[in-house]
Every structure is written in C-alpha cells, then in structure tokens.
Amino acid sequence: MTEIVRIENLHKSFDNLEVLKGIDLTVNSGETVVLLGSSGSGKSTMLRCVNFMEIPTSGKIYLNGDLVGNERSGKMTYRESELCALRSRIGMVFQHFNLFPHMTVIENVMEGQVIVLGRSKSEAREKAMAQLERVGLAEKAEEYPARLSGGQKQRVAIARALAMDPEVMLFDEVTSALDPELVGEVLKSMRQLAEEGMTMLCVTHELGFAYHVANRVLFLNDGAILEEGEPQKILKTPKTDRMREFLEGHSLFKLPD
C-alpha cells in the first residue's frame, strides 16, 4: 500500500494553548480513516494542519511521500505559493459548506479548476458536470446555492472539492449542520466515494458511518491519539474508559450486533 498522507509528531499551539500534542498518522491510498473525539479535542485543528489551513507549530507532513516545506536548522519553513499548490491537491469539505453564494452551482465547481489549475472553461465545465452527476445534482447546475437544501449544498461542496482531482479528501463534521433527514444523502455520497477508492480522512460523529465505512478509527483525546483500530473492534470494545464514555454519549446510535 502506498502512503498518501503521513503526519509525524505534529504539534499545534494557539498562543499558550497547546491543542495538538504530538500526533503520528499515516493514511494509505484508498483508505478511509475516521477521527472521533469530543468537542475541543483538536479534531478540526488536526485536519486543518494536514492542508495547512493552520500552520503546524512543529512536526512534519508528507503528501505522497514528499515532505511539505523546507527544514532549516530543525525548524520547518513554508512558502505561501507552495502551500496554495498543496491545498489544491487536497480536498476539504466543511461543516458550513462555504459555497460561494454569488456563483451558480456549476460555477462553484468550476472556479478552482479554472483559477487555480488553469483549466479551460469548457474542460472545467465538463469535469464539473461529471462531479455533479457523481453526487446526484447535475440538474441543479444552474441554480444558486441559496436555493438548495443543506444536504444538496454539502454535496455541491463535495463535488467542488472532487473537481480538483484531489489526492485525499478531508471532511470536517460535514453532516453536523444538517437537519437529521438530510444527513443520509451526504453520508451516501461519502460512502460511495470511499467505495470508489478515494483516500479520506473524516471527522464525524456518525458512528454508523465509522462502523460501516471506515478502515480505521482514531480516537483523539486532549490533543493526542488515545486509541486506534479497526472500527468493528474499537467501537465495540474500547480499551480506555475515556473512549467508552465518549461512545456512551453517542448512545443514540445502536451498533449492529
């Protein structure tokens, strides 16, 4: 298996608050890794360090085997142009969609392709349509995002990220802002992606998704990975009290026996 993302001894502090306290993780090609953890444990920060929406305080990130940034006397330095190029290779989907409201759905999906990747408009349009079809929204191409439901918006956001042909996709609680009846359609798109072999790193509270779709589940606690394992094992028989408590807090979801 080839590794896509490798995180080595990742630390991140905001002023005096140490949020990530040394994270190591390798995500292999085609793998779906789910990151669990209670609110404030550092899940978003970790995800955002992978595509450098946040700059790590220390530690190293490799994409496709290449170290991001330059090491100078033990400290990493990054050029903004390098980081922009890196971000274009990593898809990210947010809790609050962050679609561009002044553009139609298809324009949203074309924007990065044209502006960042320099694709021609016709090529971008074709690829955008293909991705919209993939998430089942081809017929909404000419609508503005304001006219879509939350679930549809999130699927457009997924298509927008996919259109960049990312090497890995990051999902940060993408169903948390949705009405319960709209969660399913988004999870379905994600599951389909996973089955098609996309490499995915997902923060989610949907234990059912973790159980059925993930290859590996991590439990993040207070900025460190406390447990890690196959979903069928770790979700049913957690080793630590901390994770057991966390799972009990999610008792709404009943794991299949």
Binding site: M53, F97, F100, P101, H102, G112, V116, L117, A146, A161
Partner: protein, 224 residues
C-alpha cells in the same frame, strides 16, 4: 423683488464650464480615491501590525481633519516643503483623492469584514491565493453590500468639491460667484446652481438604485 433669469441664461455657458470642472474633480478623485481606499483598507486589515497601524493613522487623519484645511495644506503648504508647483486642479484632485480614499477605505473594510470567514476558507481550501480569494470571492460579495455607502460617500464628495472655489479653481461654485458678480443676479444664479446640484445628486442616487436592483436580480442575495 422679481426673478429675471434672462441675464443669467445668456451666460449659462459659464456655469456649464463650471459643471464640467466640478465633474472633472469629482471623477478624478473617485478614479484615484477608490483604488487607494482599497489599498488602505487591505493594509489596515493586514496582520502585519506596522502596516495596519500606518494605514489606520492615514485613514483617521484624513477622516477627522477638515477638508478645507487639507486643501489649503496641499495648495499652499506642500509647495513650500517640496519643490512642486501646485495648480488648483492638482491640489484639488490630490486632496479629494486622499480624503475620499480614507472614507472609501472604511467602506471597503466594513464590506470585507461583513463577509463570512468561511468564504475565505472555502477559497483557500481549493488552493486560491490571497489575491485570488479577494478578487474572485470576497470583493464581488462585499462590493454589493457597499454600494449604498459608496454612493452616499460619492455624493458627499461631489458636495465637498465646492471648496475648490476657494483656491480659484473654476468649478461650478466658482463660476457661479463670477456670474453673480457679473450679472448682479445672485438669487437667480445660486438658485440655478442649487437646482443643478439637486439634479446631479438625484441622478446619482437613481443610478445607485438601478445598480442595486440589477445586482439583486443577477442572483441569490447573500445568504449562504
């Protein structure tokens, strides 16, 4: 007292010339002031503290000092400091470009800040640079919200340019003074001038309303 517009209308081309000059100063001040305002706003929003502090000082300075003082300073004082020859037009354009840029800076700044932080994030996540995010994602949304304040400020600028008559620039107000003295008909002259300003400003606000409607129609509103 009886009204007699005839004497004034005979020399109406004097006022017309003044109107053209007024529009010239206003137009040039907008031409330079708007981009300069954007630069000041972005500087002020910068996370690089010294830049932000300097921009903040410039903006506050030109917003708080009287425009007449600024005009006199550029016209009479600056040529003493550095060896430049100031014409009334240059002094007027420099003054009102900088003065209005300070106000436009604040309009840009609040417009940009009114855009949800998630928009920057969405743009950044697909690999856009700062300037791409700004020009493609943030400003198109922010400018839409800025139009009423922008128009109000432009109208304010048009009115403030009457000050240039004090440095003998032949704007509408200056020409009106000339004409009033020439014809001994201040009542008629200043009435006409007031009506001209009224019509100008009315046209500006109609234009602004038209632009707002057009933009509203071309999509969406600004809800997420």
């Amino acid at each position: 007292m009886e009204w007699n517009f005839l004497a004034v209308l005979n020399d109406i081309d004097l006022l017309f010339l003044g109107l053209v000059n007024t529009l010239k100063v206003t137009g040039l001040a907008l031409f330079f002031g708007v981009p300069l305002g954007l630069v000041l706003a972005l500087s002020r929003l910068s996370t690089f503290k010294p830049l932000s502090a300097v921009a903040g000082f410039i903006v506050e300075f030109f917003r708080t000092t009287p425009p007449l003082v600024q005009l006199f300073w550029f016209f009479f004082a600056l040529p003493i400091l550095i060896d430049v020859s100031m014409t009334p037009l240059i002094a007027a354009v420099v003054t009102f470009s900088i003065q209005s840029s300070a106000f436009f800076a604040e309009i840009f700044r609040s417009g940009i800040q009114s855009i949800d932080k998630g928009q920057w994030e969405g743009a950044k996540a697909i690999g856009m640079t700062y300037s791409q995010s700004l020009s493609r994602i943030i400003l198109p949304q922010a400018v839409k919200r800025m139009i009423p304040a922008f128009m109000e400020r432009s109208i304010e600028l048009l009115k403030t340019t009457t000050l240039v008559s004090t440095v003998a620039y032949a704007d509408l107000m200056f020409q009106a003074n000339e004409l009033a003295q020439k014809t001994f008909r201040p009542l008629e002259v200043y009435t006409i001038v007031a009506v001209i300003y009224l019509v100008l400003i009315f046209l500006c606000s109609q234009f602004s309303i038209w632009v707002e409607h057009r933009l509203a129609k071309s999509g969406e509103g600004t809800v997420r």
